[in-house]
């Protein structure tokens, strides 16, 4: 990929979006029949599938926790998901993403209702285009709801980047590669309100003021995504009601 001369031109980004505009999102609930809950999600050029199994009996036995459920989260990229073939299997990056995402979900799932069991969350990236971890969290969140797992609310995730000295919402590949900073967020949304931040990572540099601004921008984006997640689930279950 070559570096474009300017990433922001006339208040517009290279793909024609405004600074606070999300990439187009498509969500399909109950995508896999075998899983207890599943979701296929497109966020710009990102394409991810999430599958949730459980709560089910935890094996091997030693991972069981007699007071609460154990959550396993696996983020994995397909070898063909990026331009240059990605060596299959877990690597440093995917292990880290799995860990932070798991910890974000531990804050929302009511684990104490299912002692000695395990909830498995699998997310596969089929095509990556910056912010794949945010797409994965959004997909996993919908899949968990679809699986009927008790949760305090829903997780919605979006990133904010600093490009050419200005903040942009939901960066795509070029902005991620040539920008100055990138912050993925995940918010716990309950009763149409953002309750807390469940995940925050940062890569690059930003000033205190910029971070405050970034949080504001991310919250706005997250609410939009949340509405789309809701609609997708509602649509699925309303349809089921009508066909019957």
């Amino acid at each position: 990929m070559f570096k474009p001369e300017k990433l922001i031109f006339d208040g517009k980004r290279i793909d024609g979006r405004t600074l606070d505009q999300l990439r187009p999102i498509k969500i399909e609930v109950d995508f896999l029949k075998r899983a207890d809950g599943s979701c296929y999600l497109e966020m710009g050029k990102n394409r991810v599938v999430a599958a949730v199994y459980g709560p089910r009996e935890a094996y091997p036995r030693h991972i069981q926790d007699p007071t609460k459920a154990v959550i396993r989260y696996r983020y994995n990229m397909a070898p063909f998901s990026v331009e240059e073939r990605k060596r299959p299997g877990p690597d440093r990056r995917s292990v880290e993403i799995s860990k932070v995402s798991k910890e974000a979900f531990e804050a929302v799932i009511m684990k104490e209702l299912f002692p000695r069991s395990v909830i498995d969350i699998f997310v596969e990236v089929l095509q990556a285009d910056a912010g794949s971890r945010t797409a994965c969290i959004n997909a996993a969140s919908v899949a968990l709801v679809d699986a009927g797992i008790p949760m305090k609310g829903m997780l919605t995730s979006v990133a904010v980047a600093k490009v050419d000295g200005v903040l942009v919402l939901d960066p795509m590949k070029e902005e991620d590669n040539f920008g100055e900073a990138d912050i993925p967020f995940a918010f716990l949304i309950r009763g149409d309100r953002i309750e807390s931040i469940a995940l925050l990572q940062m890569d690059g540099r930003m000033t205190k003021e910029e971070i405050k601004e970034a949080i504001k921008l991310a919250k706005k984006g997250a609410m939009e995504i949340y509405q789309m997640q809701r609609e997708a689930i509602m649509k699925k279950f309303l349809e089921e009601g009508e066909n019957g």
């Binding site: 459980g54 089910r56 299912f114 000695r116 709801v145 797992i149 689930i233 009601g241 066909n243 019957g244």
Partner: protein, 221 residues
């Protein structure tokens, strides 16, 4: 049509109303699962649309033997937890008779949940009228969240099927249903149950089921 709610949806300020499928935090009631909202004067509950079966004391469950130990049987009850049936809780146990001669691997039994300890160790019994080992008939498996619809209000749906088709039915809360009787009639009953599962959250289901049974019976005679 009842409203669909998602986890985290705000339901009420009155914490006294909080019931199944909800949780209370800071004087506010929220939904904790995906389901249909049911509001009455003295409770707010969420009827689940999906999810695994979690055992509770007094439930009738159908289990399949998957392990025989020295003093009882482990049963798979289609839930995150296994159930334990102690040898003493099975009236067929006799001194000198080996446990695997009473119930062998893969056998199914109708049992009742008697105890659940805080670590979710589930104990079941067969010392109840309804309980028995299943040696004939058919077991149908459906989504456990749809079981209340198969039973219907005060058992109306199950009564309808029993009367119309003259079959014996035992509904396990864990999503397994035992059917017994004339083979052709069992087949109709099985279809009826799948129909209920498919259309669980629609209005006027009982009438449609009655109509469906009538139509199917006419085809066969």
């Amino acid at each position: 049509m009842r409203k669909i709610v998602l986890p985290g949806d705000f339901l009420s300020n009155n914490t006294k109303l909080a019931s199944y499928g909800t949780y209370v935090e800071g004087e506010r009631v929220y939904a904790k699962i995906l389901g249909l909202l049911e509001e009455t004067d003295n409770s707010i509950k969420v009827i689940p649309l999906k999810g695994k079966y979690t055992p509770s004391v007094g439930d009738t469950v159908i289990g399949i033997v998957n392990e025989i130990s020295a003093n009882g049987w482990n049963l798979d009850i289609n839930s995150p937890y296994q159930a334990f049936l102690p040898a003493s809780e099975n009236p067929e146990t006799k001194p000198g008779k080996k446990l695997n001669e009473v119930l062998d691997m893969g056998d199914s039994v109708i049992t009742k949940v008697v105890n659940i300890d805080p670590r979710m160790k589930v104990t079941v019994t067969m010392r109840e009228k309804i309980c028995r080992a299943i040696r004939f008939g058919r077991i149908v498996a459906i989504n456990p969240a749809r079981i209340p619809r198969v039973i219907g209000k005060k058992g109306s749906m199950i009564k309808l099927i029993k009367n119309e088709l003259e079959v014996q039915i035992v509904v396990g809360q864990n999503g397994l249903i035992w059917l017994n009787g004339d083979r052709k009639k069992i087949s109709i009953a099985e279809e009826v149950i799948y129909l209920i599962e498919e259309e669980a959250h629609t209005e006027g289901l009982t009438d449609r089921v009655a109509e469906f049974i009538r139509r199917r019976k006419n085809v066969q005679t």
